[in-house]
């Protein structure tokens, strides 16, 4: 809290040099400091979380030292001396904080020790050293700055009261740490002018500026007000690191700014036991999400709650170093595990990814979509973008990230459903093109996909375009083409067509024909009609009866080669009964047609008709074909009349056995 006016004691030469340097400074610095960014996210009732203030493990001694080194790369040890306001001369050499020691301890060690002894975040102490005496950034700090390093206990405002026991860097740091510790643990021997709840806090040391009511939410914030009992006004907050108005205060504003810029948020951002500090930057989130900033009035906790409840699931980028989508897009191994579960990506980055050096920004589209699963490379038949874009019904499943889910869906369902997953492979075309595959795989669609993956692609088989479809007509070593034609069969029987898997299910049609079509006498070819075939050949009827399938198989195995006819309608009634062939005197169709009483009484039963002819027809002299009339035969053969008299069956039998061969007249 010391105010020392810098009374520079200068020679003309020094004046020239210093003026020149200051001019150079102003040239270099002026563009940068002319654009102060307003403070975002400062909550006067909750400046810092308790857990952040009490986390004494945030930095090691070496980290503190590295931090100090980084802020003052070059120490201006021999800077020009000056007189302080009290007339004290402060001259070179100046020692920067990174090089400062006291009682053989470095400043870094002293800060670390105080942090550990009082269980206070060393980052809080470092920021305090900056906001009180600019010791972190000062390239030529004077001794008084170390004497009152944390501005503890000796303001110029209380001359004669100041206790010199507070003097010294170590004392200052320890007393500051003790104050914070005492407040935050509610020490019974420590008194604070602030309570948890409503407090009247002045805007600035200027009493005429008045005060405002601040609801202090935690002890860390109370401790900060204990240290600097002023609330920065809007002018101060709007100025960023700059200067506000006559009622502005800066201590708590600068504490907040330095802390957030150097060490991250002043809030723990813990939800369900997970610390989101490494993935959530409230300032970034508020700055880049105007809707959240407006809804939350730039409150960091509100922004965090939005991120946890909505932003995370919406894939909003939450810091300059972490974008959920970018992280998921970049790493297929994570997508293979997490799919669309965004919270898992965040948890992985926090717990593992960050330590593994994984990058979580800079990727705007899904990289290396997964095409392998369980050792199988599906890239020949599957492309993630194609599958996603051509299967809109899977939008909810696939989402933005679930390439593993998409691949699993394709393997589990898509292949069975015959879905196309790559422009260069259509399973239906592939099936249609290759009857050797259909013969093996039938309607087992996944088998076609896998055949292409394993063999077909290498063989150069074609899987796109209009298929060259040659329906299968052979099965089990038998060629059914003489009795079966695929197109004839499915066009004749809609029930069959409807039962097939698709237009290329020739194996299904053939199996249907083999397993039921033949039994039901279905016509599957213009060359073969089983009814014609059966009707035409009584020998077959005698052998097969009503076993229709046997007629088909007979034609395949013998009938065709024997020259039998099966494509035209004709009924060939039997002429043989009890070993006697009556064909010389009997024709079924003639008899059936010219003896309507017989036809009506017996029906289309060639054996029964023949039995009627043998038993009754011959006795009654009925004519049974166009080449034999028993009356003519009797009339022209008197020798037979002598032998047979009027017993007509003997004439029939004589013609059968002898007369036909002898050329006797019978018609």
């Amino acid at each position: 809290m010391n105010i020392l006016t810098l009374n520079i004691k200068m020679t003309k030469t020094k004046s020239l040099i210093i003026f020149s340097v200051l001019c150079l400074f102003s040239i270099i610095l002026s563009p940068a400091i002319s654009h102060a960014s307003p403070v975002i996210g400062f909550d006067p009732g909750n400046i810092m979380d308790n857990v952040v203030m009490t986390n004494s493990d945030t930095m090691s001694v070496s980290q503190i030292q590295n931090f100090l080194n980084s802020k003052v790369p070059v120490c201006d040890t021999n800077h020009a001396g000056f007189y302080g306001s009290s007339g004290t001369w402060y001259g070179p050499p100046f020692t920067c904080l990174k090089d400062y020691t006291e009682n053989n301890l470095t400043a870094a060690q002293i800060v670390y020790n105080a942090a550990k002894n009082y269980n206070i975040n060393p980052q809080v102490l470092l920021v305090l050293l900056q906001k009180e005496q600019a010791l972190i950034t000062d390239t030529w700090p004077a001794s008084y700055q170390y004497k009152s390093a944390t501005g503890y206990g000796c303001p110029d405002s209380t001359p004669g009261v100041c206790n010199s026991s507070y003097f010294g860097f170590t004392n200052q740091v320890n007393n500051a740490a003790k104050l914070f510790h005492s407040v935050i643990v509610s020490s019974p021997t420590w008194y604070s002018p602030y309570v948890l709840g409503n407090n009247s806090i002045k805007w600035s040391p200027n009493d005429s500026c008045g005060s405002s009511t601040v609801y202090i939410q935690n002890l860390a914030t109370a401790a900060l007000y204990d240290y600097t009992p002023y609330r920065p006004n809007q002018a101060s907050l709007s100025a960023g690191y700059g200067t506000g108005d006559s009622c502005s205060s800066y201590g708590n504003r600068n504490f907040y700014l330095y802390f957030t810029d150097w060490f991250g948020s002043t809030y723990a951002f813990v939800s369900n036991g997970i610390n989101y500090e490494s993935v959530f930057d409230p300032v970034y989130y508020l700055t880049n999400n105007s809707d959240v900033a407006a809804a939350c009035s730039n409150n960091q906790i509100c922004a965090f709650n939005h991120f946890i409840s909505y932003g995370l699931y919406e894939g909003r980028q939450s810091s300059s170093n972490f974008s959920i989508l970018s992280y998921a897009y970049r790493y297929p191994d994570l997508r293979a595990v997490f799919g669309n579960n965004l919270t898992d990506y965040v948890a992985h980055y926090i717990n593992n990814g960050r330590a593994e050096g994984r990058v979580a920004v800079g990727t705007s589209s899904l990289q290396s979509p997964i095409v392998k699963l369980n050792g199988v490379d599906y890239s020949a038949i599957y492309d993630f973008e194609y599958y996603k874009n051509n299967n809109p019904d899977l939008a909810n499943l696939i989402g933005k990230l679930n390439d593993i889910g998409a691949l699993q869906h394709f393997i589990t369902y898509g292949m069975k459903e015959g879905r196309q997953a790559k422009a260069s492979f259509n399973v239906h075309t592939y099936r249609g093109n290759y009857n050797d595959l259909r013969w093996v795989f039938g309607m087992n669609l996944p088998a076609y996909y896998m055949h292409y993956v394993n063999i077909g692609q290498q063989e150069g088989r074609i899987a796109t375009g209009i298929p060259n479809f040659t329906p299968i007509a052979w099965y089990g070593g038998t060629d059914y083409s003489s009795i079966y034609d695929y197109q004839t069969y499915i066009s004749s029987y809609p029930d069959v067509k409807n039962a097939l898997g698709d237009a290329y299910d020739d194996t299904g049609a053939l199996l249907n024909f083999i397993n039921s079509g033949m039994d039901n006498g279905r016509v599957a070819s213009t060359k073969f009609n089983v009814n014609y075939y059966r009707d035409r050949y009584p020998d077959l009827r005698a052998a097969f009866g009503s076993n229709l399938k046997a007629y088909y198989m007979h034609y395949l195995t013998k009938g065709k080669s024997e020259g039998r006819v099966a494509d035209t309608d004709y009924y060939g009634g039997t002429t043989i009964l009890n070993g006697v062939n009556y064909s010389a005197v009997y024709d079924f169709n003639y008899y059936y047609t010219h003896q309507p009483d017989v036809a009506k009484a017996i029906g289309l039963n060639d054996v029964a008709i023949l039995q009627h002819f043998v038993t009754y027809g011959m006795k009654e002299g009925r004519q049974a074909n166009t080449t034999f009339s028993v009356s003519t035969y009797k009339d022209h053969n008197s020798d037979l009349q002598n032998a047979f008299g009027n017993y007509l069956p003997d004439y029939y039998m004589h013609y059968i056995n002898y007369g036909q061969k002898e050329g006797r007249v019978a018609i």
Partner: protein, 191 residues
């Protein structure tokens, strides 16, 4: 005279050359530091990732010009939050110091009236006297010592049970006094 004039001229030239050389020596490293680590010339400042040797969230980059300027302002005293100096009290050896009541609330159901005050000086030798008055009611008086903080002090707290205060408007007055300083603050509270 001529010789004298020549000597003065030579001295002046020497001084100018020395000043120029020193200026360059200072300007070059300064330019390097600011240009390579700042935003000068549109070059990018190293990111946190690039400079973060421990791969943690600590910013190991150099201080920005804004941060340095803010530090300079603190060093020069233009932006320090320093309480006003005590002012002399006519006819007294003591000086007047600002005292303000920071809390005059009951912040929990049926909790005590929490009365807190800050004193604009660092002093742990004084005494605070709280006086609560309300027309027609008995005055309540309490005393407490003081405790110094970083830049101010505080009375060692007053928690007044509500049972000691009947409903109505009460005036709370805190009188601070030490060997060297004194001050008073008052405020009304509706119980």
């Amino acid at each position: 005279m001529k010789i004298k004039k020549t000597k003065r001229s030579i001295n002046h030239k020497k001084l100018s050359l020395i000043a120029g050389a020193i200026l360059l020596l200072i300007a070059i490293p300064l330019t390097y530091v600011y240009a390579f680590n700042g935003s000068l010339f549109g070059w990018k400042k190293p990111t946190i990732e690039n400079t973060n040797v421990d791969n943690d969230s600590i910013n190991y980059g150099p201080a920005t010009p804004e941060q340095q300027q803010a530090g300079d302002s603190v060093k020069s005293g233009s932006t320090t939050d320093t309480p006003p100096k005590p002012t002399p009290i006519p006819g007294s050896s003591k000086k007047s110091v600002e005292v303000s009541i920071t809390s005059l609330n009951s912040n929990s159901p049926n909790g005590p009236l929490q009365i807190r005050a800050q004193i604009g000086a660092v002093d742990d030798t004084g005494v605070c006297t709280l006086t609560l008055t309300s027309p027609g009611r008995s005055m309540v008086t309490k005393t407490a010592s003081t405790q110094s903080l970083a830049s101010i002090s505080t009375c060692n707290g007053f928690d007044v049970p509500l049972s000691e205060l009947s409903a109505g408007i009460w005036k709370a007055q805190i009188q601070y006094s030490s060997n060297a300083l004194s001050g008073t603050a008052s405020q009304d509270v509706d119980i």
